[in-house]
Assembly symmetry: C2
Homo-oligomer: 346 residues x 2
Amino acid sequence: MTESIHGRHYEDLRRMVERRLRGLTQRGSPEDLNDACRYVLSAGGKRIRAVLVLLSCEAVGGNAKQALDASVALELMHNFTLVHDDIMDHARSRRGRPTVHIRWNVNNALLAGDVLLAMAYAALLRSRTAKLSPLVELFTGALLQVCEGQALDLEFETRADVSVRDYFRMIGKKTGRLFSAAGELGGLLGGGSPRQVTVLREFGHHLGRAFQLQDDLLDVTADPSRLGKSIGGDIVERKKTYLLLKAAERTRGRDRAVVQVLLRGNRRRADGGHGAMQQSVATDPREARMIRTVTDIYRRYGVLKDTERQVRANTRRAVRALDSLPRNESAAALRWLSERLVTRPS
Amino acid sequence: MTESIHGRHYEDLRRMVERRLRGLTQRGSPEDLNDACRYVLSAGGKRIRAVLVLLSCEAVGGNAKQALDASVALELMHNFTLVHDDIMDHARSRRGRPTVHIRWNVNNALLAGDVLLAMAYAALLRSRTAKLSPLVELFTGALLQVCEGQALDLEFETRADVSVRDYFRMIGKKTGRLFSAAGELGGLLGGGSPRQVTVLREFGHHLGRAFQLQDDLLDVTADPSRLGKSIGGDIVERKKTYLLLKAAERTRGRDRAVVQVLLRGNRRRADGGHGAMQQSVATDPREARMIRTVTDIYRRYGVLKDTERQVRANTRRAVRALDSLPRNESAAALRWLSERLVTRPS
């Protein structure tokens, strides 16, 4: 019952965001560019970062409408990072559709990413508030952090000595900063006190960590039909996930050797070859075997259990941060959302 | 004598910009990203857009220092476009040094471009002014136009029916908007009247056109040792320059056929192959012959003369726009700068 109240509330806010995003896209010349932006923004999804802005605004007593422009801005910034990251990762699909650089080409994707970022600033500037300047500053600071996080992620590809600590630093910037910025933006626009804004920022930070850890976990434990992509992609790509780095700490003997192969660097060369085909996951029997072997290691050394614990611990920290906020329906929805994350099937 | 006064003034302002830019770059982790940003910003150059901001500020009675942050922001935005455009154009060198994606790789260049843009906003936000909001709006509008201009330029690569009118629309966005934004930003920060800000915007618009036309012209007429790159690069790359589009209007018979080959589309495929080597210009004897043939057509049909006329006409319009500004030394420096553009050797 509570679930469906919060679920409906979430859905209402998500639709507000969706409508506003639809209104931003253009048709006509330059066609490829406008088509690509429309394509990206029409992909749907949970719009979790945008809804977090709106719920954070309400949680401190504001009206979601006050934060709608900023929430759309954050969603646009997120989409900018997706389009550019997909180029860098040579990703061939997202949400079951070809990525922009596959559907069009790298040049159009690069430019569409740039435009999505410009659109993000344009949306943010439409916010009706006397505090526009701290808002734009916060937004720009978050953008810089996200870029740094992505740079660290790229750096990790060619480094064998990445630690769990390095990992948390990276995801704190790459994933966490958008979540913590969501809390801050909403808090500011809802007229929250400085203390409340800080609390919402911390909430977002912990939630972002939980979200990324859960993402790493789902790559090996999810139901493939619900994940929307093949299982074990991170293993095949030798990504330095929390799971792999934790396994690096724990494994011994032959298991250690397997983990070392994965740690020794991303299979892709850093310089890309952007025309190269990314191999589809798990069609290659050797890859399927590798996924089974590594997943088994994760299980035997308690890495899966540990990751689950980490997800729960970070979720708990997020929820606890909310304790000092007024006890209203939106704060309850933020709690509900955080706890749902831990159990999300995909 | 006048020349050296304005020259010294320009140089003083350029150094202010240079110093501030140097102060922005960081060392340390993420290393590739920070190194790439420092590499881009240490390339020097005329910093013409930044100095235009400062001179425009002074021309309406302001102090250059008031506009320094905005001038650096515009220079950063310009450098963001260079890094991303170089990826899209597969350019191998800029200012006699390897481009970022050649020196490092496409991924690092993409990300460095993103960060330069974030740094641009961060710089802009440091402007001490009560009018920050219109400033950021202007900046964001300019960014969108520049991206659109680049999208049109890419579109032109695969279109055979580009007109001179299309060309002016494209360069008005891609080149002109940064110049006109320079005038506006300086005018606003110098406390100029709305009329003066408009005048400076128009000044920049015409100057930007003159600048781009001169750029197109220099590709075939410059002294290669001063141009810093080989002559005829635009011809080899079949770029839709003003010269080529004007030749398309005028040529007949066999000359027409030669021009048609160039118009039929850029030699590169739009989808890139970003690992592919861009052929170095004029080492191939067929290319050298093509450059000679096309340059000869440009000469015989009066295209070179016509382009020179266009450069002069746009410069004149720019200078005339300045007539309604107060007659101070900085307005004189803007005039001097505009006229020097027409005669610049590279």
